[in-house]
């Protein structure tokens, strides 16, 4: 996504600059651990404050922790730090804890001493409702807070809507896992804001559902991805938006392929193919169908579909699409034991991923090249490829890779 600078943000009528100063004083003066709650009602304004704090406190390290069902207790942020980082001063922003309900809040009471034992400034971002929840559900933790900073803004409704619309319309562009988490926070926040509107625009909600679903999937949070994408399909059907429905079905198929297996994915992709008439989406559907079916022994049909997808991406001039398809073609060729052809496809894919600057794409291709070289017992070359892939995975922040 384009840098989330907020130069377009209107000047808030009740400026929060005083609370920002207070937060900075707390961070700069505290030598021991403390925590504070930061209240927001607009995700864009929240991101602005975060960027300002990061700039101002630099070179103090700043870490983010975001609630997810798999990572639901705030004290778990310590697991991602080195022993040295645990001992050094740092700022840690906590997001979306209120999505976790009572247990997540209550865990703060139980881990209060652990959280207090490091020289970290712990800033919990919540809405006004979250503040109430924190006070009621984690009274002991709440009682020891060092401050409640108010970053809510008040702008005229129309201006606020315009602002939300411009942010909701931003494309998803992910270079690292940290990017994905930041964008997920932003789009989830916008989704909440839209859902709370009395005349919520369904199409915008559906568009956001798609973005959030994609980001959840990228971050391996598949149950949540499915829930968003199913809502997107439902709204698209309700509004008669067939292309949006086809896109949602395709994205759901990508998630289901890993979550529940291939038959469900194939069924969804075939439904999507019937609905879509957009070349780019058709190419994406064919690519995914091709990637799914070769393991069912349909490698000829798979290669045909992938070549059709490649042709479409070339016609459109989509290099990233071409790179993804070439990687998939290489996988099918490797599966068919056509290793020379596979390496050729991977090389082409690698060039294109480099051109578009996709580190994750390059890392995945280098790993696949390493696999072929390892299969051929070319161990030195394989190690070199794996080593390059590892460096890139680390840059992206992909621990699984």
């Amino acid at each position: 996504m384009a840098d989330l600078a907020v130069q377009d943000l209107p000047e808030p009528s009740n400026s929060y600059s005083n609370d920002l100063s207070k937060l900075l004083v707390l961070i700069n003066s505290a030598r021991r651990g403390f925590w504070a709650f930061a209240i927001y009602n607009n995700v864009v304004a929240r991101e602005e404050v975060i960027e300002t704090v990061k700039r101002t406190v630099s070179p103090l390290p700043v870490f983010d922790w975001t609630y997810s069902p798999e990572n639901s207790y705030p004290a778990s942020y310590l697991k991602s730090l080195t022993e040295e980082q645990k001992r050094e001063r740092a700022v840690v922003f906590f997001f979306d804890l209120e999505r976790g309900g009572t247990d997540a809040w209550k865990s703060l009471d139980y881990s209060r001493e652990t959280l207090a034992s490091h020289p970290h400034a712990l800033i919990f971002w919540t809405t006004s409702k979250g503040r109430t929840d924190a006070a009621r559900k984690a009274p002991h933790f709440w009682a020891q807070r060092s401050g409640v900073l108010d970053f809510t803004i008040s702008v005229p409704v129309e201006q606020h809507r315009e602002l939300m619309g411009s942010w909701a319309g931003q494309p998803v562009e992910v270079a690292t896992y940290a990017d994905a988490e930041r964008q997920l926070r932003l789009f989830l926040g916008l989704l909440d804001e839209y859902r709370a509107l009395p005349d919520a625009p369904l199409e915008t909600i559906a568009q956001l559902d798609g973005k959030v679903g994609w980001l959840f999937d990228f971050l391996d949070r598949r149950e949540e991805a499915v829930s968003c994408l199913e809502e997107q399909i439902e709204i698209a059907r309700q509004l008669g938006l067939t292309e949006l429905e086809a896109e949602a079905l395709t994205n759901l198929a990508i998630v289901e392929r890993i979550r529940t297996g291939r038959p469900k994915a194939i069924e969804l992709l075939e439904q999507a193919l019937i609905l879509s008439s957009f070349p780019m989406l058709i190419a994406k559907i064919k690519q995914n169908l091709g990637e799914v079916i070769y393991l069912y022994g349909e490698s000829d049909r798979s290669l045909n579909l992938l070549n059709e997808a490649l042709k479409l991406f070339k016609q459109i001039g989509d290099n990233l699409g071409q790179a993804n398809v070439l990687k998939a073609i290489g996988d099918v060729q490797s599966f068919r034991d056509e290793k020379d052809e596979a390496l050729k496809s991977y090389d082409e894919a690698l060039k294109l991923f480099k051109q578009v600057g996709s580190n994750l794409g390059q890392a995945n291709v280098l790993k696949a090249i390493g696999d072929v070289q390892s299969f051929r017992k070319e161990m030195d070359e394989a190690l070199k490829s794996y080593d390059e892939a590892l460096k890139l995975f680390k840059q992206v922040g992909d621990n699984l890779g």
Binding site: K22, V25, S29, E113, S128, A135, Q144, G147
Partner: protein, 220 residues
């Protein structure tokens, strides 16, 4: 284990169980009422921190059979008959003087903070910390009334966010009668610190001074 320690070091053993004051009342009953015999069976001394709400449950007499209990009440600034209690105020002055140079307060700032704290040390420290941050932001060398008042307003906002409409008439009633009882709502209000507990000859309570103006306003 305690026997081994006693033999090895020749000294009595004291266990301190921290953090049990943070558990829910239901879990508190499980531990301190249903299992009071078990947990008081150590061949050593033990100090348990207990959820304060347990004291107002009908089964608390079970606890008193097995444990000697102490309550760390707040420092009163006035009596239950609304008579000033200067000893309490002096104690808080002394406590603050041990942590911060009194010359850093201008005018009545410290007295205002003490009055607003209701004798609750946690509130007093929070108010002074917030006021100090406000003073730094204003680039002032001293904490002034304006800083304390801003801190009070911020804390009042927290109470307003936490309290429900049904709580206000109860707070008004407790403000008038000062009586503590074991009903659920009173316990909630004690836990949220909107009600503060004091003792002299008997236990009594009062509304936290910071929330009192809102209570009076909303129960007119």
């Amino acid at each position: 284990l305690s026997d081994q320690i006693k033999i090895k070091y020749g000294k009595p053993v004291l266990f301190v169980f921290e953090g049990l004051d943070k558990i829910d009342l239901g879990q508190g009953k499980d531990i301190f009422i249903d299992r009071s015999q078990t947990i008081s069976g150590f061949r050593a001394s033990a100090i348990f921190l207990m959820p304060i709400g347990l004291r107002y449950t009908p089964q608390f007499s079970t606890v008193t059979q097995y444990f000697k209990h102490y309550s760390l009440s707040n420092i009163k600034l006035h009596t239950s008959k609304n008579q000033p209690y200067p000893e309490g105020r002096a104690k808080l002055h002394e406590l603050i003087a041990q942590r911060i140079d009194p010359f850093l307060f201008a005018g009545n700032a410290l007295d205002e903070a003490i009055t607003a704290s209701g004798g609750l040390i946690r509130t007093l420290i929070a108010l002074i910390r917030d006021a100090a941050v406000n003073a730094v932001v204003r680039e002032s060398e001293k904490i002034e009334s304006v800083d304390v008042r801003s801190a009070i307003a911020s804390l009042r906002g927290d109470f307003i966010a936490m309290l429900e409409t049904r709580h206000y008439p109860i707070l008004k009633a407790r403000y008038e009668d000062k009586n503590l009882d074991s009903d659920q709502e009173t316990q909630e209000l004690l836990e949220s610190l909107a009600l503060l507990e004091y003792d002299n000859d008997t236990f009594w309570c009062d509304v936290h001074p910071i929330v009192l103006p809102v209570v009076l306003e909303r129960t007119k």
